[in-house]
Structure formats: structure tokens, C-alpha cells
């Protein structure tokens, strides 16, 4: 076997391993779509659960997840984008700035269940928000923050320095340069980062386990101090905590959650690729 045969064998091996990595992804998505599609109909999406969640719909879980994600967005977007603007436009390379970067990296690595403990300790008990949309959204927002900061900073840094110089040479202040020149240029990248952060928040279970999630609550919430059902927690509940749950309902719930998260994923990818094509610098 000469070295060219070795190369051929090596490349085939690498390709085969990549296939082993990718096939299960298709299997997961495919099997959930195939087995779940039969359960998803108008009633499933718009009705309250009945018969101990074995029948009816999952409306409160869908609404709960949307509300938690909205709450997360309201808190995490201003702080995250603001932090990114600071790191990219204002911060000099000092030990304090490096500490911020370390903090962001560290926040990104904290286990989701530890965020749950943090939310329970700070928002639910110490600030006495109770198990509520508010406490859950705040917990998810802190978890989402590092994703938004790092992607938004990357997008801001990609804007060439000349753009800022030209703005300053025309008599613009630093903030005017950022507000009217840099931010609009970086916007698609920032939005992509925000979507990626929010889809992570929408799919998480552990952080809301003790801060927001209700086991079974067949009504829509009245205020931000109400607990809610949420899609990921609901899937956990019906697949592990309720005996005799029809598989159809479980797969249906998984499909709705997967569709929500993956469509956000596709949206982020679409914005990114469209932006790359249109960019003139």
C-alpha cells in the first residue's frame, strides 16, 4: 500500500466519521417530525390541556414559552448590546476590560442548572418575585447575556475603523458615529446574535425549573408574577413524570418545540448569509 492509497483510505475514514456525526442529527429531527406530525393540529396548538394533559392542546405551554422569551429579550437585548458597544467602541485594553471578557466567557460556561439555583436564590426568594414569569425571564436573561455580548461585539468589530474616522472627521461625536454609522452597519450581525441567544433561552428547561415553570396550569397567566407552563418543561413533565402519557402527545410537543427553535435558527442563518452577500466592505 503506497502513500497515495493511505491518503485515500484516510480521507474515506474522515468522511465516514463525519457521516457518523451527522446522521443522528437527521435521525433526531426526522423521527420527531414523522412521529409528531400526526398529533399537531389546530386544536393541539390552541386548546387547553385536558384529561391530565393526555388530551386537548398545549396552548398554555406555547404562550408561556413565548412570554418567557419576550421577557428575556426585553432585559437581555439592551444590556447585551450595550455591553458589546462598550467592549468594542469605548473600552481600552486594561485589566478591567480583560476582567469583563473573562466574566463574559465564564457566564457562558456556567451550567444551566446553576443559573436555576441563582434565579431561585436571587429573584424567587431574596427579591420575593415568587415562581413567576418575571423571575424566569430575568434568570434566562442573565444566561443569554454572554451569547448576545460576544456575537454583537464581533459584529461591531467587523465594521472597518475608517467608518468611525470619517464620521469623526465630519464633526460627529463618538456616539453619533456609533448610532448613525457603526450600529446600522453591524445590525444584521447583532440581530443574528440576539436570535441565537433567544432560541437558546426558549429551549432551556433547567433555569426555569424552580423559577417560573408550572407543572400543570390550564389557563393563561394574568400578570408577570404568575407561574407559567413552558414547552421544554412540559415535554420533560409528560415524558418522565406522567405515567401512561400517549407517545403521540409527547412527540407532538417535541415537534412544536423543535419547530420553534429550528425556525429561529434558520432565520438567523438567513439574515447572516443575506448580509454577507450585500456587504460592500
Amino acid at each position: 500500500m503506497n502513500r497515495h492509497h493511505v491518503q485515500r483510505a484516510g480521507f474515506i475514514l474522515l468522511g465516514a466519521i463525519s457521516l457518523i456525526v451527522v446522521m443522528p442529527i437527521l435521525l433526531v429531527v426526522g423521527s420527531i417530525v414523522v412521529r409528531g406530525i400526526g398529533a399537531v393540529n389546530w386544536e393541539f396548538l390552541t386548546a387547553m390541556p385536558r384529561d391530565g394533559m393526555k388530551a386537548g392542546g398545549i396552548l398554555p405551554a406555547i404562550v408561556g414559552t413565548l412570554l418567557l422569551t419576550l421577557g428575556t429579550a426585553l432585559v437581555a437585548i439592551p444590556i447585551g448590546v450595550g455591553g458589546a458597544i462598550y467592549l468594542s467602541e469605548y473600552a481600552r485594553d486594561t485589566w478591567l476590560t480583560r476582567t469583563i471578557r473573562l466574566a463574559v466567557i465564564n457566564l457562558a460556561g456556567i451550567p444551566s442548572v446553576v443559573y436555576g439555583l441563582f434565579g431561585l436564590g436571587v429573584f424567587v426568594l431574596f427579591l420575593q418575585f415568587g415562581t413567576s414569569i418575571l423571575a424566569g425571564s430575568l434568570t434566562l436573561a442573565v444566561m443569554t447575556l454572554p451569547i448576545i455580548i460576544s456575537t454583537a461585539e464581533e459584529a461591531l468589530r467587523a465594521v472597518p475603523t475608517e467608518f468611525r474616522t470619517v464620521s469623526a472627521s465630519l464633526g460627529g461625536t463618538r456616539w453619533q458615529g456609533i448610532r448613525y454609522i457603526v450600529l446600522p452597519q453591524a445590525l444584521p450581525g447583532i440581530i443574528t446574535g440576539i436570535i441565537l441567544g433567544l432560541l437558546r433561552a426558549a429551549g432551556e428547561t433547567a433555569p426555569i425549573l424552580f423559577t417560573a415553570a408550572a407543572f400543570f396550569l390550564p389557563r393563561l397567566p394574568h400578570s408577570i408574577f404568575d407561574p407559567v407552563m413552558a414547552l421544554p418543561y412540559h415535554l420533560y413533565v409528560i415524558s418522565t413524570q406522567v405515567p401512561g402519557m400517549p407517545l403521540r402527545v409527547q412527540y407532538g410537543t417535541a415537534l412544536v418545540l423543535l419547530t420553534l427553535v429550528l425556525s429561529l435558527n434558520v432565520l438567523a442563518a438567513a439574515i447572516r448569509s443575506r448580509f454577507r452577500r450585500r456587504r460592500q466592505w
Partner: protein, 295 residues
């Protein structure tokens, strides 16, 4: 004119506060974990705390089975994910034609986006029965099942960081290898991959950080038996991790009880482990920082 400067100052202050908030949140998380978790160490004697039995209802808070459970599942997951991830990164980066790359990368991104509870659900309904049949074990909910699911959850991180590392290897290295008459494969195997070594180590560490902190999927597929995984067949028996213990038990404990404090104590431990892993990984990344190299 004066009002103008005020608005500049105001905005700069707001942006600065947003920037520094990350430090504030890390401190806040650590302080609250300590506040709720430290009492464990005065309430539970050390030999109990590091004992081999976790039965909170009987006042037994031995954390060793949980720590070893997490270690067993995480290390097995990394052993599976490391070769798969690095090989995939090399294939995508060095070998695959463009159209295959454009196909593989979004798929791996999809994997990163799938919620852990969905993967856990898939593991329960699909992989666990498979494991049971193949092994002939009484249950498919084992440490191995957890490791398998975790491996795939760590893969996107490992592939993307390893790819960045390969990307950072200068083109001149490859050219030199090929110019000396080596095949492309020899250049990859003997030049490019060794040159990307430290980045690959970082990839593995970040993947490990991701795996050890993973909660829902692990809780759903490992069977959750808090037993010491010391025998050889432990990998194919149920096991319980630190994260799953917190998630499963926190809902039912009374605030301020010893059990409550002990669960926060596990939280402190998890926080410190991931803190060290991420800091070490960050140090390597900072050292060889490239534009856009940090993900």
C-alpha cells in the same frame, strides 16, 4: 452645546454600566451560591458530606457517588466525542469539497440548536431501548446512554473550536509540507493537526465544560440511581450526576433545610469546576487570539 455633551456623557455611562454588568452578574451568582450553600459545611460533618451514600431523607449527604457519576458520564462522553469531533473538523476544514462543507456545517449548527430536553426525550424513546436490547441489560437508562447523548451535545462546540484552531495554522506550513513531497494526508497528519494541538485541547476542554454542566438530557437518560460507579460494569448501569440531582430534588425541598443547602453546595462545586475549565480555555485562546477566533 452643553446639553449635547450631557447626552454623550449619559449614553457613555449607560453603555459602561452594561459593559461592567457581566462582572456584577458573575459575582452575584457566586455570592448567592455561597450564601445558600456554605451552611452545608457547618450543618453536615465532612465524613458524611464526602461519604458514599446520598440519601437526604435519612440525613445522608455523601456527594461522592454524584461527583463520580458526573465524572464517569463526562469522561466517557469526551472519549466518544473527541475523535469524532476532531475528525469531522479536519474533514470539513481540510478535505471536503465546498458543497459538502456547506451541507455539514449547517447540520452541526442545527445540532447545537436542538434543546437538551428534546435530545433527552429522543434518548429515552429511541436510544435507551436500543442500548437495552444490544446489552441485554435490565434497563437502557445507563451511564453509557447518557455519555452517548452528551457526546453529541458536546460535538458542536468541539467541532467549531477545533475548526478555528485548524484555520489558525498558517498556510505556509501546508505549503512547506506539500513542497517537500508529502501527500495532503501526510501534511494534515504530521504538520497541520500537531500545529493546532493547543487549540484542539481548548476544544476538548470547552466540550467538557459543556458536558459536565448539562442537565436535562442527562437526567432523562441516565436512570438517576445514586450509587458508587466503582465496578467495571458501572458504565452500563444507572448512574446519577450532580446536575441531575439538583434539578430532580430542588423542587421538593424546604427552603433553608439542610437538603436545600446541600444542593446549593453541589452548585458551588459545579460553578468552580466550570469556572476553572473556562478560565484555562480562555487563557489559551487569549494567548493565540486571532480575529473572530473566539467562539
Amino acid at each position: 452645546m452643553n446639553r449635547f455633551r450631557w447626552s454623550e456623557f449619559l449614553i457613555e455611562s449607560l453603555v459602561r454600566i452594561a459593559g461592567f454588568s457581566s462582572i456584577g452578574f458573575v459575582l452575584l451568582i457566586f455570592i448567592f451560591l455561597l450564601r445558600e450553600g456554605l451552611p452545608t459545611f457547618s450543618e453536615v460533618p465532612a465524613e458524611n458530606l464526602f461519604g458514599t451514600h446520598w440519601y437526604p431523607t435519612f440525613g445522608l449527604f455523601g456527594s461522592l457517588p454524584l461527583i463520580l457519576g458526573s465524572l464517569l458520564v463526562t469522561l466517557t462522553a469526551i472519549l466518544i466525542a473527541l475523535p469524532l469531533g476532531v475528525a469531522t473538523a479536519v474533514f470539513v476544514r481540510e478535505v471536503a469539497p465546498t458543497w459538502i462543507r456547506e451541507l455539514l456545517k449547517p447540520l452541526i449548527e442545527v445540532l447545537a440548536g436542538i434543546p437538551s430536553v428534546v435530545l433527552g426525550f429522543f434518548g429515552m424513546t429511541f436510544i435507551a431501548p436500543l442500548v437495552r436490547e444490544v446489552l441485554g441489560a435490565p434497563t437502557g437508562l445507563t451511564a453509557f446512554t447518557g455519555a452517548l447523548v452528551l457526546a453529541y451535545m458536546a460535538l458542536p462546540t468541539i467541532v467549531s473550536v477545533a475548526e478555528d484552531a485548524l484555520d489558525a495554522v498558517p498556510k505556509a506550513y501546508r505549503d512547506a509540507g506539500l513542497a517537500m513531497g508529502a501527500t495532503k494526508w501526510q501534511t494534515i497528519w504530521y504538520v497541520v493537526v500537531p500545529a493546532a494541538r493547543s487549540g484542539i485541547v481548548t476544544a476538548v476542554m470547552l466540550g467538557m465544560g459543556r458536558a459536565i454542566g448539562e442537565t436535562m438530557a442527562v437526567m432523562m437518560v441516565t436512570g438517576n440511581a445514586a450509587r458508587m460507579p466503582l465496578t467495571l460494569d458501572s458504565l452500563f448501569r444507572p448512574v446519577r450526576t450532580m446536575t441531575a440531582t439538583i434539578a430532580a430534588e430542588m423542587g421538593e425541598v424546604a427552603q433553608g433545610s439542610t437538603h436545600y443547602h446541600a444542593l446549593f453546595g453541589i452548585g458551588i462545586f459545579l460553578f468552580l469546576i466550570t469556572f476553572v475549565i473556562n478560565l484555562t480555555a480562555a487563557a489559551t485562546i487569549f494567548k493565540k487570539r486571532r480575529r473572530g477566533g473566539l467562539r
